[in-house]
Subunit: 336 residues, 2 copies
């Protein structure tokens, strides 16, 4: 009989956590017992798994020695509170909150840097990067050798679900208010999100960069193993429920061989390249899918050493929950 | 008594045309008689001007010798049909459709290249560039000297109104259908526009660039007077009714002096620079305004020779109708 594991998911009632539980079931992850954890607010609720309703418990009261692996899919504060307890109990962890330093829990995207896992000691600690860094890493990794990458310039148009459940509800509520010509009352966002673009996600530092933008730069460099790669990034909140999109301009050291780029993208894991002339959209393509969609592959109008791409992926699924499960699938071979 | 003019607006019932008529009134343009023209479809309708309802007539039957200046604010086909008739009748024209070659009707944005007008012969022929090129030119012109600009990389998130009235109706209709859980039936757009991003506006050429993107490159170079400027551009259709937004990364030949950039933007005509730490949005700031809003002024995360900006402007007003009227205000001095 093959090995099975006891697993916990912290934040199991959230946008990412619920999808994570679904993916564990879909991919037939070898689970003996699944423990679903959240705050006191939703303790007692239940979440379906393998045809049963699994009761959600409070994370505060959980004994981590009961499991071999825990996914942290709540906020950074929750990870910071409970990760030490988990590792002290000998439990490995995969964190989705970005709370842990890279030295403690390296950022891993299996399509880009799975080899990092081989160097870890038990109990394992791994970070699944931000959904943006994950998506970009999946697409840039197979182009690394081909391009001699000098610079990445990108604008990320993020779905409101990158900010969790409340943000999704708010976009729907604002849209309905506007269509019904009722006065708009922004709550989660500080201004109108419906039919609008918010060019700053989070508070900027003194230089004008947001935490999200700086995190993306650091994570992408780490996962691609290119610590000196120049990256320019603007993160924008778009009135889209699910699916992040990326307008990407890459500067190469030499003229780009478009046929080779297309072939590399076609051959790569985790990518769906759309037909030339077509383009993918978050709603029509990415949502609910296990791949990053790539389209609009083209050189610069005036620069053969430039490569332009449009990417879109399901931020909750491919950008977060699925990436964490893919990491777990690689880890469990050594988890025994 | 000061000089007044007889003026015609072709496409007076359209998104741009209606705003143009409003702006002529607001700015007290010296008009004796205003002739409003459109297709047979809306001939007979009327449009308010100076407290009266002005009857719309069919452009086919119009005698251009009755006016000294005509604005073309219908599609390119309409300009191509009637511009020769207008100029043959001695009538000057300002075209908003992009139909006329630059040698015949140079692209003018008063804040950037008003000097071009001085070289024209009567009857004058001037093009008002695409809304995107106009907005970008207003902001880049006052930075030209300061930056020693090497390259502009930009993602334009365009409002549906850039595609006229039908596109506006379609976004509203699609949104209502989705909120009411009715099946979605795309008509004007070929797929779901509501809560989605369409990464390609128009049909791409064999290299993957759209006409809109190539037009933006040519127009921006022409208006800035920098024919060799490298420009990378992706135009995206966003689910926003009015107001285009631009994520712009500029590469300079030397480290950027941010204080000088802020001072230049502060001092420039046609620009509203928002406070550091804040950012402008199409809905909250740009719509209905006569200026381009600029925010998120910052260097690169890792490159002091890089300047990042976020721009937003009312595509119909500042990007089109107002620019054309500003050109007209400069032309009429020599129109007598
Ligand atoms: N959404 C994305 O696209 C995305 C992508 C990558 C990474 N992430 C990261 O993943 C994490 C979860 O994001 P989300 O979008 O799923 O947020 P969410 O929809 O708001 O869900 C938050 C989850 O955390 C739980 N939680 C909140 N406070 C807690 C506490 N004190 N103790 C235990 N559980 C608590 C919530 O449980 P209750 O039901 O009890 O409140 C809920 O299950 C965040 O760190 C986020 O940055 C999100
Ligand atoms: N919207 C923008 O942001 C923007 C910005 C810059 C430039 N432009 C350009 O400005 C022009 C108008 O755009 P729009 O957005 O205002 O479009 P729109 O809302 O669709 O209006 C089109 C106008 O053109 C008229 N028209 C159509 N076919 C005609 C014909 N055969 N003969 C005479 N008139 C005709 C229409 O009159 P009926 O009522 O009779 O159909 C209507 O007045 C286009 O060339 C567009 O590319 C638009």
């Amino acid at each position: 009989m093959s090995q099975t594991f006891d697993i916990a998911v912290v934040g199991a009632t959230g946008t990412v956590g619920e999808t994570l539980v679904q993916i564990l079931e879909e991919r037939d992850f070898p689970i003996a017992n699944l423990h679903l954890l959240a705050s006191s607010e939703s303790a007692g609720h239940s979440v379906p798994f393998r045809g049963k309703n699994v009761r959600v418990r409070e994370v505060d009261e959980f004994d981590f020695s009961k499991v071999q692996l825990v996914f942290f899919a709540a906020g950074p504060a929750v990870t910071l509170s409970f990760a030490p307890r988990a590792t002290a109990a000998g439990c490995s962890l995969i964190d989705l909150s970005g709370a842990l330093p890279a030295e403690q829990a390296p950022q891993v995207v299996p399509e880009a840097n799975a080899q990092v896992l081989a160097g870890l000691k038990k109990p394992f600690q791994v970070s699944s990067p931000s959904a943006s860094a994950t998506t970009l890493a999946v697409v840039l990794a197979p182009l690394r050798e081909l391009l001699d990458l000098q610079r990445v310039t990108l604008t990320a148009s993020l779905a409101v679900s990158t900010q969790g459940r409340e943000a999704v509800t708010e976009l729907a509520r604002q849209t309905a208010e506007l269509l019904n010509v009722r006065p708009l009352e922004p709550r989660f966002f500080d201004r109108q999100m419906a039919f609008n673009l918010l060019a700053q996600v989070g508070t900027p530092d003194a230089q004008g960069h947001t935490l999200l933008e700086k995190r993306l730069v650091h994570e992408l460099r780490a996962v691609l193993g290119q610590p000196a790669l120049k990256i320019s990034v603007t993160c924008v909140q778009a009135p889209v429920f699910f699916g992040d999109s990326f307008s990407v301009t890459l500067a190469s050291a030499r003229p780009v061989d478009l046929a080779a780029v297309n072939a590399a993208l076609e051959a790569a894991e985790g990518i769906e390249l759309v037909e030339a002339g077509d383009y993918p959209t978050p709603v029509g393509d990415a949502v609910g899918q296990d791949v990053v969609y790539v389209g609009r592959v083209r050189s610069g109008v005036d620069d053969p050493a430039e490569l332009n791409l449009w990417l879109t992926s399901d931020n909750v699924r491919k950008g977060a929950a699925l990436n964490a499960v893919q990491v777990a699938e690689l880890l469990i071979k050594d988890l025994v």
